[in-house]
Symmetry: C2
């Protein structure tokens, strides 16, 4: 038995121990009759004194949750506490799982698990979804805070739609992306993830269908799953979502909307061609299905000319556009936005009122002042050459290993989407990498049907320094080689031989 004890906590260790065991008893994990570990073993395992364990067990006995049994030790008793009055009915611990709404059972803990492993020690993270923290514009923000120290309006409520001057700044940013909108058509969100969740809640119920690219942003999959809706994945090619397959599925199902990431798609890095954008809109109009356009990476481009967002090509008002400052600036302040037709904006505003009311006022004001100084463009100028160099480095390192992994060079964004053309177990590779001190995101989490991603890896190149990025990729290559020894290649057509 391994209990989580925190010596930094004010609460005494014996009480923490008792609480941990109590939780497990009350939730049914430790059944009646379970023999708790002997005091000495418990003490050794947790690096505490035997006295501490004795006090913990005594605490449990006093609560009526355990008792001493000769020949056995300390044993979990029947899960009811003695009632105050003989005639009082017995009280049972709350049984939570039957009460939970079934839909929430569909949501899995993937993100957390990956983040947890990544936080262990000094691991090299190729799994990050963020940029390089060393590039955050700290000096500029400090200057802004000096110019305008925190004040009561920073601490007060804000409009549900967002701090108006920030909405104006964002509208201006949109014009920089060839999207002509007014502040009035823009609403500030607590990250663009909130926009995906609001869209899910606005449109989806059990029995509904939603179309996504396959693969796609993993948290969008989880979010749509939470509504009980059916997720229909449409494969992609180098031009983006496959319109022929999309058309067939649109004819077959009545999806509530199409979720797409047209620029530097997460995880594939693909940018939807102009032709494909027009074709997608055409299909949307034909089948009268709205589009949820998610654009976090559009400005992270390494030279390629930017294409206009779907929303800019849509005069009929079918597109809901989401974006965020998290990738270009920093993720911690949770600032995103939506641009959508009025009926949708109204729904989002209602949802905002019953979820978190409005986005953090202080941060909105800070970001507004930052954008007003024209610093967004200078931040881009700073980060793009650095990220481009990191991309090039990553490609060189991986490209040296002839055919070990297959990938296409991304023209922007944060990720390399790699395929291992050998029957290598994703689970074993993850474990071996963790052993070697690196973590990446397995492709499985990006597919509605997880097994479809068994041979794919998403590798981030923006987060780590050049040195650690290079080191991490080399360790990854070694790990893949170790696991692929004596394996035949999957694709005979490529003529790739296993590396020995």
């Amino acid at each position: 038995m391994r209990l989580e004890i925190n010596r930094e906590e004010a609460m005494p260790v014996y009480l923490q121990m008792a609480n941990r065991i109590k939780e497990q008893i009350l939730s049914g994990i430790l059944p009646e009759g379970f023999v708790l570990p002997p005091e000495r073993k418990m003490a050794d395992d947790h690096h505490v004194s035997r006295t501490t364990v004795i006090k913990a067990y005594e605490e449990l006995k006093s609560l009526g949750l355990a008792m001493s049994r000769v020949g056995q030790g300390t044993v979990v008793t029947e899960r009811k506490l003695p009632a105050t009055n003989e005639s009082d009915p017995p009280i049972f611990p709350m049984s939570w799982y039957p009460l939970f709404d079934k839909k929430t059972a569909n949501v899995s803990d993937t993100v957390s698990e990956i983040m947890y492993i990544g936080n262990q020690g000094n691991m090299i993270s190729l799994a990050a979804g963020i940029g390089d923290p060393r590039l955050y514009p700290v000096d500029e923000l400090r200057e802004i805070q000096n110019e305008r120290p925190i004040d009561s309006d920073h601490l007060n409520l804000c409009s549900v739609e967002g701090y108006y001057p920030l909405r104006e700044s964002i509208a201006q940013l949109m014009r920089f992306r060839n999207l002509s909108v007014t502040a009035r058509e823009t609403m500030i969100l607590t990250g663009s993830m909130q926009g995906i969740d609001y869209a899910a809640r606005t449109f989806l119920s059990p029995g509904d269908a939603v179309i996504v690219e396959e693969p796609t942003f993993l948290q969008a999959i989880q979010c749509f799953r939470a509504t009980g809706a059916r997720i229909i994945g449409i494969p992609m090619d180098e031009g983006g979502i496959r319109l022929d397959i999309l058309e067939a599925q649109l004819a077959r199902y009545k999806p509530k909307f199409i979720y797409t990431i047209p620029n530097f798609h997460n995880p594939t890095g693909i940018t939807m061609s102009m032709e494909r954008r027009k074709g997608l809109l055409k299909l949307a109009y034909q089948f009268q299905v709205p589009i949820l356009e998610d654009d976090p990476y559009g400005d992270i481009t390494f030279g390629r000319e930017k294409l206009p967002p779907l929303k800019a090509l849509d005069p009929y008002g079918y597109v809901i556009y989401l974006s965020t400052l998290s990738k270009v600036l920093f993720p911690g302040l949770r600032i995103g936005w939506v641009v959508a037709p009025e009926p949708v904006m109204k729904k989002f505003m209602l949802l905002k009122q019953i979820t978190d009311l409005h986005v953090n006022t202080d941060s909105q004001i800070l970001i507004y002042r930052y954008l007003r100084k024209g610093l967004y463009e200078s931040q881009l100028k700073k980060i793009l050459p650095i990220y481009k160099k990191k991309r090039d480095t990553a490609i060189n390192v991986l490209g040296k290993e002839n055919g070990l992994v297959h990938f296409k060079r991304p023209e922007g964004g944060f990720y390399l989407w790699c395929r291992i053309p050998y029957p290598v177990s994703q689970k074993k590779l993850l474990a071996l990498c963790a052993d070697q001190g690196i973590i990446y995101t397995p492709g499985t989490v990006f597919f509605p049907q997880e097994s479809d991603g068994e041979h794919w890896l998403r590798l981030n190149y923006t987060y780590e320094t050049l040195e650690r990025l290079t080191e991490g990729l080399n360790l990854l290559i070694k790990a893949i080689k170790r696991l692929s020894v004596q394996n035949e290649p999957l694709d005979e057509a490529t003529g790739v031989r296993p590396i020995v």
Copy 2:
């Protein structure tokens, strides 16, 4: 026709005008054949030149949305734009309402409407749900920002559960409220409203029932409605929720949980007695129904001894406890928290991952440093005498008017819950008050069945200065008198005569 034009916007006025009209045409508000207002009238109504209107109308014509018709003027045309190709099928504007999930139709825009009216000009707000912004601890926060200027860790991602040192500080704050919890059992939320929403999403689906006090926090009603669940209201008396009625309803329905505000209840100001707390828990255990305890106002007490939270009286783990810093400190940074049994915490964490990921990191660090200095207690010491004085003032002003309104003196919290014992129309009173420059919250919004609140008013006394509070209440009294002239009193038992 009144269009919203903003001269501060970068976008030219004629284009804004055209966009506003375009929205109305595309969403069906202006049907085919509708004659747009004559250019001169439009120009006069919006204080723009006729040329501007002409340009706006030309824009619409070029989009194929309007045309000139002899004898009529500018007329809305068929709602399709000409297709590029003769053989292309016609494209129709998106019809949003059939796509919207039915559950969201249950949510109404009440909060926004009230806030909107309140933002007009210099109205005296007795409708606020917040404290006095002049009391925000601005100096203390500035000092903290000077000691530790913003840094890259303030801007980076944070744990889903929250910034760990803040969780510890909150756990300590809980001990101050007689609730013994660890940091591990505490999760930071983007306001306690988010906790209500997460609870709703964790437990409720169409067909489920949830129990609330009647009346109760208006946004909780909206939030529960959004799940499609049935809301069962239980009346209260001066001791809190009526246990006899609750027991009958628990036997009749299988509610997923009971939502309660035991301390300085919003809107009634009632604090649940100790006896009632124990009785409520006993019923919860008997029927195995969890309790969602919402405690935003517990520390806003004017002398009365604080009672322990339900959670502190619950060794069986039935209670989910929510609270916030919004009422004691300030609302704009959106910092709340939940303390709940582990299975519930896990669900909340999953929901956090698919909604906004984590609470604003910078604000969590700021608040942690604030709490660590012991400033919460000094803030309380500062605000409590001031709020007590405002309460006393409000009671004096209203109490002078013998029997005009009925209310009980609240022993803490933010509100006076007043009943008008005359058949006065809530709608007329609201309008008359708005005319006079004051706004309050009509009691209707706090009841699942709105009409039950027809004779009730919630009056906030914390937000305004003493002068404005007094002025506002006097204006309210005048308004009530005006409307109640010649009306017989509702309650003959009280022997109250109408004021002439």
